[in-house]
């Protein structure tokens, strides 16, 4: 099995490597949003008499959004961009002929290869941003070690959510609209738009129930040492429960999708 993944890695890495110049451009999509919001909150904090909003000053906001940006790049799955068109134009059937699960091998490794390469390009950009915004980075070695599994699990969650959404392409041609809807909800409740602390209490409640904060806000706050041990433990349990639930959902929809796909082709 490991050999299979190794093979897929070689293919997908080579494929992504061709587009390395484009990756630098795509980075712009990721970078602009957090910069805009870190500026907005800095302006608000600097305008307040205490220089703070909800206990955060401009440098804290810079640290939050720049850390979040790195976490976002590491955990957000982009599988829909390849997978949706493969399902729509039917080329997925070539992959279905192989004796391995196409989503859990090829799509998964492709996502990973994309992330690995993008991370390489991202490091100098991130360093430049840190120099520009002078964030109060409160990382420690232990916060890194504690956050690492949360980032990996966060990516798995995001991968399952995105691919399960994309599988709807077997039923509808409007899968991108559906993805937009999920994306909008996620953006609001994941901590990507604002630190969850800034949300009104009832919205914080919703954010706790939804899975999205687990792959954004959670790893970010561990990295910044802003979480109590009890909260960290609770969120880790939540991550595992969500991954199991999402995986079961993914399997169910995948089986149905295949049945439906062969029905169309027959």
């Amino acid at each position: 099995m490991l050999r299979i993944y190794q093979r897929f890695w070689m293919i997908n890495w080579a494929e992504q490597w061709q587009y390395r110049a484009n990756l630098l451009m795509y980075l712009a999509y990721w970078v602009v949003f957090p910069i805009v919001y870190l500026t907005v909150w800095s302006a608000i904090a600097n305008g307040a008499p205490s220089g703070m909003v909800q206990g955060m000053n401009a440098r804290d906001f810079a640290a939050y959004y720049l850390t979040l940006l790195a976490v976002d790049l590491a955990t957000t799955s982009v599988s829909i961009h390849m997978l949706a068109s493969k399902i729509q134009d039917g080329t997925i059937s070539n992959e279905l002929l192989r004796p391995v699960h196409p989503i859990l091998t090829n799509t998964f490794v492709n996502d990973l290869a994309f992330k690995a390469l993008q991370m390489l390009i991202f490091v100098p950009v991130w360093l430049a941003l840190t120099w520009l915004f002078n964030p109060a980075l409160t990382y420690t070695w232990s916060s890194f070690l504690l956050a690492l599994p949360a980032i990996v699990l966060g990516f798995l969650m995001s991968f399952l959510i995105t691919t399960t959404t994309t599988l709807m392409a077997f039923w509808t041609t409007r899968v991108h609209a559906l993805h937009d809807l999920v994306f909008a909800v996620a953006k609001l409740f994941s901590g990507q738009f604002v630190p969850l602390l800034m949300l009104p209490l009832w919205m914080q409640g919703i954010a706790r129930v939804l899975p999205f904060q687990l792959s954004m806000s959670f790893p970010t706050l561990i990295l910044l040492n802003k979480m109590t041990p009890g909260d960290i433990a609770l969120n880790y349990v939540l991550q595992i429960v969500w991954i199991v639930a999402l995986f079961i959902l993914f399997r169910m929809i995948w089986t149905r999708a295949l049945r439906r796909f062969s029905a169309v082709g027959a």
Binding site: Y26, T39, G47, D180, A184
Partner: protein, 262 residues
């Protein structure tokens, strides 16, 4: 000139037919657009539940800002993105040659062939938002400021159009440059907030390189009567200059272009 208007009318009719042929898709897209509008409101409500002003801009001002941003959004989604997609496909597949052969100005044909007609809804939304925002902030602008606002909105639109034309014209030199509008697409979102709160380097970027702020913050400042007369004149002149430069770049580009496959 009249000829151009006739052709434009024909393009709009043609695109209208396409919209009507895919009615459900249009409705779904309209729904998505309204959803993001609701998202914007939720975002504003959240931000302003923590503060009264963003660097001196209050909630009424921000509603006006969102209204203005809708106009920029309309330009992008009705014209710029779809036409760029068609243009890039034309270069890749060689069909651009047919467009260039048409007995009409090639820049006109490339930039107005694809118009997503239903996005005109944005115009209505923008007017409502601007009116509501102004009412909310309690600062009704005087007539001269309103006139300056409308003029600068138009000139800002022309500036954005011209920058876009130059960006896609670059493809004539680097045929593989199909990321031509990525940066513009990414930076469009900076138009949601007044550029005056951005750090200097970002303000310079969105004013002079990808001048989103020229079509958002600057007209808003005119509406609030914050512009000196020379700033107004400069912003207005920017529209004419940008258009002239883009025409030249386009002409040289087309002359240089010899097909992607040849």
């Amino acid at each position: 000139m009249k000829h151009h208007f006739d052709v434009l009318a024909a393009y709009i009719r043609q695109n209208m037919k396409e919209t009507l042929a895919y009615r459900v898709d249009t409705l779904v897209n309209l729904g998505i657009m309204l959803m993001w509008q609701a998202w914007d409101f939720a975002g504003l409500a959240i931000v302003f539940s923590n503060t009264e002003s963003i660097g001196g801009w209050r909630i009424g001002d921000m509603i006006v800002m969102i209204g203005i941003f809708r106009l920029v959004n309309m330009l992008m989604f009705s014209l710029v993105w779809p036409s760029t997609e068609a243009f890039n496909r034309g270069i890749r597949e060689g069909t651009l040659d047919y467009t260039l052969l048409l007995p009409i100005d090639s820049q006109f044909a490339v930039t107005f062939q694809k118009i997503v007609v239903w996005r005109a809804v944005d115009l209505l939304l923008a007017v409502i938002l601007i009116a509501v925002g102004l009412f909310y902030s309690g600062a009704m602008p005087v007539l001269s400021n309103t006139l300056a606002f409308v003029l600068l909105m138009l000139s800002g639109g022309v500036v954005l159009y011209s920058v876009w034309v130059m960006l896609i014209a670059l493809t004539f030199w680097f045929t593989k440059f199909d990321n031509n509008v990525t940066l513009m697409q990414a930076l469009t979102d900076t138009g949601r907030y007044p550029a005056t709160i951005y750090p200097v380097w970002l303000r310079l970027l969105v004013t002079f390189v990808i001048p989103i702020a020229v079509a958002t913050t600057v007209p808003l400042q005119a509406l609030r009567g914050e512009l000196e007369w020379w700033q107004f004149a400069a912003a207005l002149a920017a529209g004419f200059i940008a258009f002239a430069v883009s025409r030249t770049v386009w002409r040289i580009g087309v002359k240089k272009y010899s097909g992607a496959s040849a």
